[in-house]
């Protein structure tokens, strides 16, 4: 469209974008900056922008607090949860999208579980996993308290509704004729799913995976109640920096930077998918 936008408007626009970015990026910048500050430069007023950077906070977090242990737990739990969410979610979403199974009622039911306040069910969860963990199945699947399985199951449960929500739109965006064509070529429904539908829905599945991973990675309450030590995740691990001497801000910043970094890198890599995925197929021209 021919729009003679004046220079003034453009300057204002980029000025505004700069301010917006400043607001959204600064806290993270400050966190990263703090992670390199020596202890004596953190709790001082006025805040210090210039200091001799140090890696002592990282040494403390990684070495003294063995923070990589929490990262490892988080990684295991998040990745497996995400894989299950995507797998179960894709199958279910596909069923909703193509067969309209339950005519919206089952979908509504699943979505409505997203309304459930986690706090309301956290203690029942605790008791369930306590008991399940003692059974043979529970033992083999590590479903007990302070075991990875318990958190994985919880995260799967709490992320399924959103994942299904996202995925339904994606599957609806794939023309049926593609699947039809493959079936006429002799593939069964399941083969069609594997060889045609899922590859085509890859961007959508990727977006769903990104969101699920972010949510799992950042979850706090379940990790806090259902784990003690062996399966604790980073959000719980950060708590070990709240000491009787106060919060160790430098190491916390370092730990937070370490724990956020994989997510940031992941998200930046996936950002094109994410923006495409965020339309949910809900905008139709």
């Amino acid at each position: 469209m021919q729009r003679k936008t004046s220079v003034v408007v453009e300057i204002l626009r980029y000025g505004a974008i700069f301010l917006v970015l400043g607001f959204f990026v600064f806290p993270i910048f400050w966190m990263v900056l703090t992670s390199f500050k020596p202890e004596e430069a953190i709790m001082v007023s006025p805040p210090r922008f210039f200091f001799t950077p140090t890696t002592e906070n990282y040494v403390h977090a990684l070495h003294d607090k063995n923070f990589l242990f929490y990262i490892k737990n988080t990684l295991i739990i998040s990745v497996i949860s995400t894989a299950i969410v995507v797998a179960f979610g894709s199958l279910a979403a596909y069923s909703f999208a193509r067969y309209n199974v339950g005519d919206g009622h089952i979908l509504f039911f699943i979505l409505s579980t997203k309304m459930m306040p986690a706090i309301a069910v956290i203690l029942p969860y605790f008791l369930i996993f306590r008991d399940v963990g003692k059974t043979a199945v529970g033992k083999s699947l590590h479903l007990g308290l302070d075991q990875h399985g318990a958190l994985i199951v919880s995260y799967v449960m709490f992320n399924l509704p959103f994942a299904i929500w996202l995925l339904v739109s994606f599957f609806q965006d794939i023309p049926r004729s593609l699947e039809h064509s493959a079936r006429l070529d002799g593939l069964s429904r399941i083969q069609v799913l594997r060889r045609v539908t899922f590859p085509l829905a890859a961007p959508g599945i990727a977006v769903t995976a990104v969101f699920t991973l972010i949510f799992c990675w950042n979850e706090f309450l379940f990790a806090y109640i259902l784990t003690r030590k062996a399966a604790s995740t980073v959000t719980v691990g950060v708590e070990s920096f709240f000491t009787l001497q106060g919060i160790l801000w430098g190491p916390v910043a370092a730990a937070a930077t370490i724990s956020v970094a994989p997510m940031l890198i992941f998200v930046l890599v996936m950002q094109r998918y994410m923006v495409r995925g965020l339309t949910f197929g809900a905008v139709r021209g």
Binding site: L21, I28, N100, L107, I110, P117, I119, V121, V238
Partner: protein, 313 residues
């Protein structure tokens, strides 16, 4: 002369045999794993929670006790703090979601018209989304600090008043709102931006030729066309805000006093500090009930969108 491509030497097609799984059973099979998980881990705890609402349940005394009828409901509904927490939740949700929508849509428009560094801006905007409230919320506490915080330092340098962000009971809730805005406005902005970019161009060109003012284009075209996607974001954000816990726990712990005590935080305090699972469950069930009633209204149009599309042959 082309020869017929489909000639000899071809593996025989599978013979027509049994009819196989019907669509109906296939579709049911597909939702089974998700349904099993949901049924077990949503319904079971909920049933337990519901059961507790009719019992005496002081966990720190080590037991879920006798049935007391509707006593817990009476106590909860008579509890001023419960309604106060509800009111805080409503205030928080309305303001936070409202501002996030307005700012997010504004930013989307800002970026939509931009030609330069759009990808970079978009990437940077995603950053707050990728962080957890439990961790970055802690840093916002540091930013908000009246002495050591960089926020008041900047305001002071600009000669602006330096609020006691988390300590002033008239401000604290809005400080939590500000944090939530920081974390979630990009979500709204990115979806709105994607929505804007997906809009068809031609009606806007037609409107340009028709000499419509920007305002008319916005009100009759842009917003109505964006409505479905904006509504979806609105619903998602509302659900999350109503359930807000992490940010409050990290930033204010409901304080000062009860100024920022949201419903879920009060639930947490009742359930996990006082261990009155009876009251906590009752509140949770009531909360869920209200949410579900709201969801019927909020989700129905979205679901209709899904099922309508699913029904398209």
């Amino acid at each position: 002369m082309p020869t017929s491509p489909a000639s000899s030497g071809f593996a025989a097609p599978p013979a027509a045999g049994r009819a196989g799984l019907s669509d109906r059973w296939f579709s049911v099979l597909l939702i089974t794993p998700a349904m099993l998980i949901t049924l077990i881990f949503a319904i079971l705890p909920l049933v337990q929670a519901l059961d507790v609402t009719f019992r005496m349940g002081d966990l720190s005394r080590g037991r879920i006790g006798d049935y007391v009828g509707l006593e817990n409901y009476r106590v909860v509904f008579a509890d001023a703090a419960f309604w106060q927490a509800g009111w805080v939740t409503v205030k928080f949700t309305v303001v936070a979601v409202g501002l996030q929508m307005i700012l997010g849509i504004g930013i989307a428009f800002l970026l939509h018209g931009a030609t330069f560094a759009k990808g970079l801006t978009r990437s940077l905007l995603i950053l707050p989304l990728a962080t957890s409230a439990a961790v970055t919320g802690l840093f916002w506490r540091y930013l908000y600090d009246t002495q050591f915080g960089v926020m008041n330092w900047m305001l002071g340098n600009l000669g602006l008043p330096e609020p006691n962000w988390l300590g002033d009971y008239t401000i604290a809730l809005w400080s939590v709102v500000l944090f939530d805005i920081w974390q979630w406005t990009p979500f709204v902005a990115l979806i709105a931006l994607a929505g804007l970019q997906a809009l068809p161009k031609e009606p806007f060109e037609a409107a340009e030729l028709d000499g419509a003012s920007r305002w008319r284009v916005l009100t009759t075209l842009t917003f109505p066309l964006l409505k479905p996607v904006l509504f979806l974001v609105l619903v998602l954000r509302t659900i999350d805000c109503v359930r807000l816990y992490d940010a409050v726990a990290v930033l204010t712990r409901g304080g000062p006093g009860t100024a920022t005590e949201t419903m879920t935080f009060y639930l947490y305090r009742t359930g996990l500090k006082l261990f009155r699972m009876d009251y906590a469950s009752t509140m949770a069930i009531f909360f869920l009930y209200v949410m579900l009633v709201a969801a019927v209204f909020a989700l129905t149009p979205l679901l209709k969108q899904f099922t309508d599309r699913a029904k398209e042959a």
